[in-house]
Subunit: 417 residues, 4 copies
Amino acid sequence: MSYFQNKSKIINDPVYGFINFPDDLIFDLVEHPWFQRLRRIRQLGLTFYVYPAANHTRFQHALGTVHLMDTALTIIQRKGYELSREDWIGALIAILLHDIGHGPFSHALENTLVEGYAHEEISLIYMQELNKIFNGQLDNAIEIYGGKHPRKFLHQLVASQLDMDRLDYLRRDSFFTGVTEGVVGSERIIKMLRVVNDELVVDRKGIYSIENFLIARRLMYWQVYLHKTVIVAEKMLVKTFERAKLLTQSGHRLFATPALDACLNMDPKNMKVSLSSMEFLEVFSQLDDNDILSALKVWQNHSDPVLAMLSEGLLNRKLLRIEIQRSPFSKDRIEAIKTEVRKKMGWDGGFTDYLVFGGMVSNSAYNDEYDQVRLWDNSGKLIEFTEASDIINPAILSQADNKYFLCYPKWVNLTKQ
Amino acid sequence: MSYFQNKSKIINDPVYGFINFPDDLIFDLVEHPWFQRLRRIRQLGLTFYVYPAANHTRFQHALGTVHLMDTALTIIQRKGYELSREDWIGALIAILLHDIGHGPFSHALENTLVEGYAHEEISLIYMQELNKIFNGQLDNAIEIYGGKHPRKFLHQLVASQLDMDRLDYLRRDSFFTGVTEGVVGSERIIKMLRVVNDELVVDRKGIYSIENFLIARRLMYWQVYLHKTVIVAEKMLVKTFERAKLLTQSGHRLFATPALDACLNMDPKNMKVSLSSMEFLEVFSQLDDNDILSALKVWQNHSDPVLAMLSEGLLNRKLLRIEIQRSPFSKDRIEAIKTEVRKKMGWDGGFTDYLVFGGMVSNSAYNDEYDQVRLWDNSGKLIEFTEASDIINPAILSQADNKYFLCYPKWVNLTKQ
Amino acid sequence: MSYFQNKSKIINDPVYGFINFPDDLIFDLVEHPWFQRLRRIRQLGLTFYVYPAANHTRFQHALGTVHLMDTALTIIQRKGYELSREDWIGALIAILLHDIGHGPFSHALENTLVEGYAHEEISLIYMQELNKIFNGQLDNAIEIYGGKHPRKFLHQLVASQLDMDRLDYLRRDSFFTGVTEGVVGSERIIKMLRVVNDELVVDRKGIYSIENFLIARRLMYWQVYLHKTVIVAEKMLVKTFERAKLLTQSGHRLFATPALDACLNMDPKNMKVSLSSMEFLEVFSQLDDNDILSALKVWQNHSDPVLAMLSEGLLNRKLLRIEIQRSPFSKDRIEAIKTEVRKKMGWDGGFTDYLVFGGMVSNSAYNDEYDQVRLWDNSGKLIEFTEASDIINPAILSQADNKYFLCYPKWVNLTKQ
Amino acid sequence: MSYFQNKSKIINDPVYGFINFPDDLIFDLVEHPWFQRLRRIRQLGLTFYVYPAANHTRFQHALGTVHLMDTALTIIQRKGYELSREDWIGALIAILLHDIGHGPFSHALENTLVEGYAHEEISLIYMQELNKIFNGQLDNAIEIYGGKHPRKFLHQLVASQLDMDRLDYLRRDSFFTGVTEGVVGSERIIKMLRVVNDELVVDRKGIYSIENFLIARRLMYWQVYLHKTVIVAEKMLVKTFERAKLLTQSGHRLFATPALDACLNMDPKNMKVSLSSMEFLEVFSQLDDNDILSALKVWQNHSDPVLAMLSEGLLNRKLLRIEIQRSPFSKDRIEAIKTEVRKKMGWDGGFTDYLVFGGMVSNSAYNDEYDQVRLWDNSGKLIEFTEASDIINPAILSQADNKYFLCYPKWVNLTKQ
């Protein structure tokens, strides 16, 4: 059982009922302003334009992963694997903070707002700074998060094909979007986890749950995360901020909160050099969904027509048309659409690229970076999941599932016949 | 919208909230004793030995399918397909009565209790007799049920890869067993149904829901319907009744309700000849789970050791051991086990076959008898699902997924190493 | 935390997700045939005639109460109250077995099938016999069940205004009937339990949850437990068995399973004398819903018109008409109806009393036998709930809420104007 | 049945499953930027500080009320009351727009941000302007909203003790906070609605559902809406904006979005005079949660210590201490606390009043402004609910339930003994 049940605080979670903070240190980290910021960042960005209830936050998700981690470690210990209090709490902290480096609308704006930083790196910077504040109590968590801890499975619980991150977000996103059939059996999968040679494996009889998990995940990708309306909204958001940065860096002064203003003015060329982590965190910690949405409201009246059109469209859900297909769009068709837009608007090419653009989105059931799921037989044998499952096409599993999209204004006449 | 909402009666259903009886005729059929009998037949037979809450009945399931059928027809009509009141109500009745021919513990005892009849045939006999009682008002329903109706899709809503039967039972069984990740998006799939050339098809964007449906169905098969404890319990039930029939037909008089007694005494050789349908229905209508369980309670004290052991084991959940594997069990091993049992019990071979036996269970994602699911493109093109989905291995899909089992007493020493 | 998590078995429960058997002894008791019998007894008797999904069993309920008891003891210990392993397991067993003495359709048939025994007494006999079988390991549980244990609150967790019994059954019955607004916050109430002077109290801030609990309970009474269709069905069942007993004891031989036959032949006058507990348990353990329903199916064709009519009506949901009102029905009206029935059927008075009868049903929010709920202030003060709540009328709370009913055949013309 | 099912759009709602837009006009109104703004306003303001998942918006709630209204009208029509298409759609629009005049954190900031306007008045202004845009198609809705429509019950469905507004918000808030026992049987209550003499009444047998509704509502008030942490956060928000207005109006220039800036600069004395509705709507339509939270982030670094402390406390959930009691706090105690704060901070009185303050919160089960709920007997008689229910204390029902609160910094030593 968990070491940490005594001084617990309890919060309500519609997904799991009640969630304990299993330890005071967890509670103190949650109270820190850097973590509280996650209350102001939606887990699914602009997805609320398709699923209006999808306003749940990274704060809720992070607490949910702590709940699942505590359950998983309890199961693993119950199956006879001894775990020290330090390792236990390290794993809880590593998962609590795994997403603390996400900025607003991160799925879309990562690498646009703050170029050159992935959210994982920023999470690490936060952990290191928090470790100073909390007198080294995060040493273990940082090792686990970075994959440096000798007990490999602790890292796998934080980042692998079946980590607590995705077991929570799939379940939670399914709950809040209302896409009920996307539900994954998080609790059943966790009950079948096991540690063999310090590696995380799944009991063999869990094979159908894993199949179900992979297919539910795929459903959630195409039905939610890469829903075409979500794609077009997110791409418009990226275009808006690219435009805003360009305008700012060419001397225009746009309305922005101080934190957003700092981002718009960052010089991407020497980012990694010019900012010490504390300076950077100072700015980044002030940035959340509110800065973005506040700016859009003002920018919709800006004199730059591109910035104004995109901002107004995003705010009022007047989105570009989007087409999706399996193969790339022909250059001729894209060119023809651009020409029509240019002609109609009386614009030059630069403007048009903000309203007519394409690209590719991709989903693979397996993440390339991670090892395969392995199944554990009663006999002690380990088998790769792809070998054991016949119905899931193994070739497809780790191969990216690509779709191409093309966006342009709804008044364009050159829609597909 | 449905033609039938005016005089409706409403009942509570924990799965869908409220269910309407959309028409008085439906209500009158539900009131008939032949249909009321379904309140006394569990949907999942002995599955309650694994999932204690799986006591839901065929009565609830049948009402659930009516609810889904009414929803599906509403959607189809809303998409512009005109449907007459007669066809509508015919489809509702066909699905309401599709399972009325099931006997108690039908999954196990079909073809043991009443040899030579499949439940589909008995359902048809019931419909024909009810049609007489209700003055021909079931003509349409019988045509639809039998696949004779010109609008082919109506039959497909009753019996096909995506019929209302399985859309309800998968959802309902998942609910009552508590295997929440087996939930299928019945309502979402129904919203994507469409009729093209009088055939039932699914909107192309529904592909992920279909994938999810097939994998969830597979999960439910191995986790619930063919769970090894369920298999051993059901096979023991079959053996018990085979024994009871043999004893009866060789002159022993076993305790039984009159209806069960009639079954035990039926001569399988001339069944189809000797019984007019009304005589047969008379007996069959009195048969439900209570007759079976009542008999087991008395039989556990019978002087025949096989009948007593099996009955007592079933009642008190003292089941045989079961092994499951992908390949057939070796004859040598089976023989060795039988020898041990014979020696230990001082029995001859006949007895032993009731306690040591094997077999095969099988599940295929697709039913061979039915056409493939077809997807409908906006362009009007129809594509087979297996062509459109890359992740699901098409070769596997309609191929049976077989497992072999072997059952024997727990005290046998020859368990697998 | 619980002492017992190590060797746990897990089962699925649609209400709570997963339930642990926290200790091997609990598991062994569950495996015993006397407990397995509860799988064959519906929690809500004939309520399925109104709420078709209400087929859940006393088996599920008993496991649910164990889950809540384990949670409650964990909370209490976490708040600083030290509890020994023996007391803990004693409380788990006491609640597990609290309903083991229920017979089939107990709400209706208690005191008809087996006269002179209340189910609580039979539960105690079972516990005492099991204690012999399990070598005294139930000593503690029996003390707790009987209110003899020094830690008074343990008994209160088994039987009081807020015991684990009703916290489970209200929640569970609400779930399976689909009367979702009857849900009580079992888990929230349990989180606010506390032990003061060895007595169970509730944190003061829980007052709104208690109010809600009492009103939800009241809703469940009138909407479910005392729903007028449930009342008439249960009263018909009582009449049926009174008739069957009379016929049996006046020399007729009715179809019955051996266990039911023994009940029909019991002489109520010297019951407590003539049966040693083991003899009695032998019979009683073989009795469940199946015996009752099997008998009704045969009796519907019996030559005694009363027995046949009642049995047939019950089986096929052709129930008597029932009227409900706040004041007693006038003798004149009852007499007039009886006269009409007698005339129409050509019967004498004795027969008529089985088809025309009235009575009273009653519900009080508080059970008289138990102490009031007490609330615990942060200051340490204890207040009676009725003093603390202003909205709930205290006079009404422990006062019975009575309604009168009158049942008679539907073809009677003297219905109320 | 509804007139409007044909061209429907469907959206996912985790509370009800799927919601239809029953008519194109509803859909067009939803698309309007003024309505889209509701996506950016949380239904429960700062409640997410207690219940982290309470981020649901007024947008979702408004769609939910449309769903319930459509269901209620369908039920009423099915019971034989004829309703024209115009009245039907009028009622849908009236409920869709009933909350469109809410500003951000309206529960707290109403009358602080925009003094002199209640949200109901602003909703009406919006409806009138939308009526111009939509060529008079909202005439009927405006009559219904304003209580001027001849069919009185239509207004009652929008605003009364049992209106669709509270039937949705209680259910929805219970869902998202996770306070599951606060769930009200919205659908069951709606099924028991009826129109008698153009007035909305409830079938008599619904009395227990109404009792349950009132007590669940009371639970939600004290557990959620008036939870002490919610009160202190909201009161701090009010103080923050009072301070910001004072600073602005005395010449300081605070960071603010243009819309918020306009609010801070509004002169309350001549508000109703100086602003034409379109000018006002222009500003108000740009105002949402983002403006408030963005400002707080900047203000936490302002040189005014009061503004900075309150803003920083709110953002990072470092709230004042709050005490709650039934009787008013003594002036002496408040004065003593103020003195300590003044001394410790070296402040004068004006500053202190922002950090030490008290007040009263109040909840009554019934709203005074509305008529009582009336119950309809089968005999045709109407009875007041308070007469019919004995358990609910009628004197208390419409009487306000008051509590007093006192807030002050956590470092104050004079906490209650």
